[in-house]
Symmetry: C2
Subunit: 345 residues, 2 copies
DNA sequence: ACGAATCGTTTAAACGTTTAAATAAAGATG
DNA sequence: CATCTTTATTTAAACGTTTAAACGATTCGT
């Protein structure tokens, strides 16, 4: 890489000190600097195509105008959409973003966070893994500004922006009931993640309030790393038990993808054989023959709010902001028991 | 943010110079340094939880172990998947990645590239926009290592990793013909992007070689910013002309998404009324009632190769590497004229 | 006309590293 | 024992900025 032009280059060319060049280029002390010299400096800067070395500036000012974003997996559409929104919001404020995927792995999350901090990010937006508290304590201790995204720990006080997951579970289940569901099963991850447990609690609570029998008997938990096989197994078990379930509440888009594949393979009819509701969204849902009813997360608001809170935190305001966003129920066809699908066989 | 511990802190604590601490922590001059002092320094470093300030190190060494990645839109699954692969490959080599979305906008691309360079990235992986050549010339001139991703300019010599798009177009078309297609239309972007034009050229070439009539008459071009309406219009025009097309070759996943929506809306039967083949891939395709036949890009290889070439370029090898990857045809149902879809109406 | 205020600019230190060169102390050589 | 090596460590400059403080030269007020 070629040497870039520095303040010094400009200074020697114009015949002034680097300090003066710095002042001019940062529009500081404008009233104190002679118009002619300022103009000359700016001209030479443009001529030599000067661009600030943010590394040097960052070293001096301990500000890099870079934020770190750690998601579970950038290749997942949920993360990718958020990343895009955060990128735009950061950009509006002159920030650039470093990203990383934790793969729901505590060690990796920690490593990524450290790498980013070592690179001088001004703050972090992160979707914490299950056992991230230790890391979060460290961040708090070292006063690194951060905002949790999508998840948080109720017992740990920090800024976060997340969905109201209880409401999401509740809403989905209530809709299932109103659409004629009598036995509503749920498939969720085997996880201690609060946001996932909340979805289950919402489901359970709606069942109870509407006096729907079954309860936890109709809950199935699957492991992230055996998703395909466990989703198949659990769908199967919910459908083939003594009193089969007529509605399936799926706790995430990844679970839904696998369930859908299995349903297609087994030629089950949605919603006649089984109604489906998903918490989460992905492009694929609308192309299924019985377009899926799902709970939409307000991604735009989630990403923007998280970014704003972080930037706010970075620049002054040390307040803790906790934001729970409302889910939106998007009713399509997969949940309507009375809907007869175009699939005939 | 709290002050982090520096070499100086360790040095004063141990009672040695910062130079020595630096040597020890970087495992340099190991044979020249007394075991005891080295051990002491390492102990204190751990105790004070020392972590290198990469900003300072970067300033001194002009190496940040950060690369910049500029895609068209990180929220698009194609970009997101590549980003993930690149992230992993970079991470394996101790690099972190800054990302940005160009939105196919030359100005934005330029701005992003500059921001990244100002932040001292060691190199750039970028999907260039249509008129990126000026920027690329600048990168070449200033000797910033870079690799083009997904696209390149045949008249501009630089490293790149891309699909063999001609072959993709050719392959898709040949398959259409072999599956009984008689009149094969294509919808592509209105763009001067070489990689898109190549897809058209491949299609055209296959038509000619198989003596299929129609040729450019059956080509429709749509604008990115009016995708929905123009895709509808063009699908319609290809199907309602004097001699309607029986197969549609769609040049990208975004075009396909819109076409599919329209097809569903209009209740067209795939593949009976119209067969579909897409160049590009997205999760949604498999859930359409007639799962889509498509051309798969070897994303893994694409991302990994690009990253490796870049890192190679950064560390020594100034050679230009140009890699054209082979597309893979994935045959499902949408292209098979003899296949009778489960959709009955 | 003299000290004070103002003006335009420079000096110099600092941010946290790296690294070539210098140095002091100890050991080997003849 | 004088000299040369080796060993272990330090010195000091540098990377490219920022910024408080200092500076000399004008201009001002009385």
């Amino acid at each position: 890489m070629k040497k870039r032009t520095s303040l010094k280059d400009i200074a020697t060319r114009v015949g002034v000190s680097t300090a003066l060049v710095s002042y001019v280029l940062n529009n500081q002390k404008e009233d104190r600097i002679s118009k002619e010299v300022a103009a000359r400096i700016k001209a030479v800067a443009k001529e030599l195509n000067y661009r600030t070395n943010q590394i040097a500036k960052g070293l001096k000012t301990s500000k890099t105008f870079t934020i770190g974003l750690i998601v579970a997996d950038i290749s997942n559409s949920f993360s990718a959409s958020l990343a895009r929104i955060i990128e735009d919001e950061a950009d509006k404020n002159g920030y650039t973003v470093l990203f990383g995927s934790s793969d729901e792995n505590d060690i990796k999350l920690r490593k990524l966070a450290h790498e980013m901090i070592n690179r001088g990010v001004d703050g972090l937006i992160l979707a914490p893994t299950e056992n991230a508290i230790e890391l979060l304590l460290e961040l708090k201790e070292t006063e690194v500004p951060f905002v949790l995204l999508d998840r948080y720990f109720p017992q740990f006080r920090s800024s976060y922006v997340a969905l109201d997951n209880f409401q999401a579970g509740y809403m989905a289940t209530e809709h299932a009931i109103e659409s004629g569901g009598k036995r509503i099963g749920m498939i969720n991850f085997r996880s201690t993640h609060f946001h996932l447990e909340e979805r289950t609690r919402g489901w359970l609570s709606a069942l109870r309030e509407h006096k729907i029998p079954g309860g936890k008997k109709q809950l199935r938990l699957v492991r992230e790393h055996h998703l395909e096989s466990e989703v198949q197994k659990t769908v199967n078990s919910l459908l083939s038990q003594q009193e089969p379930v007529d509605t399936l509440l799926l706790a995430s888009n990844m679970i839904a993808i696998h369930a859908l594949r299995y349903i297609i393979e087994k030629r089950l009819k949605v919603p006649k054989d089984i109604a489906i509701i998903v918490i989460d969204e992905t492009e694929a849902f609308e192309f299924f023959y019985a377009p899926l009813t799902f709970i939409r997360q307000p991604l735009q608001e989630m990403g923007q709010t998280a970014t704003r809170i972080l930037l706010d935190n970075i620049s002054h305001n040390k307040a803790v902001s906790q934001v729970n966003l409302s889910p939106e129920l998007v009713v399509k066809k997969s949940s309507l028991h009375h809907y007869s699908s175009p699939l005939k066989r």
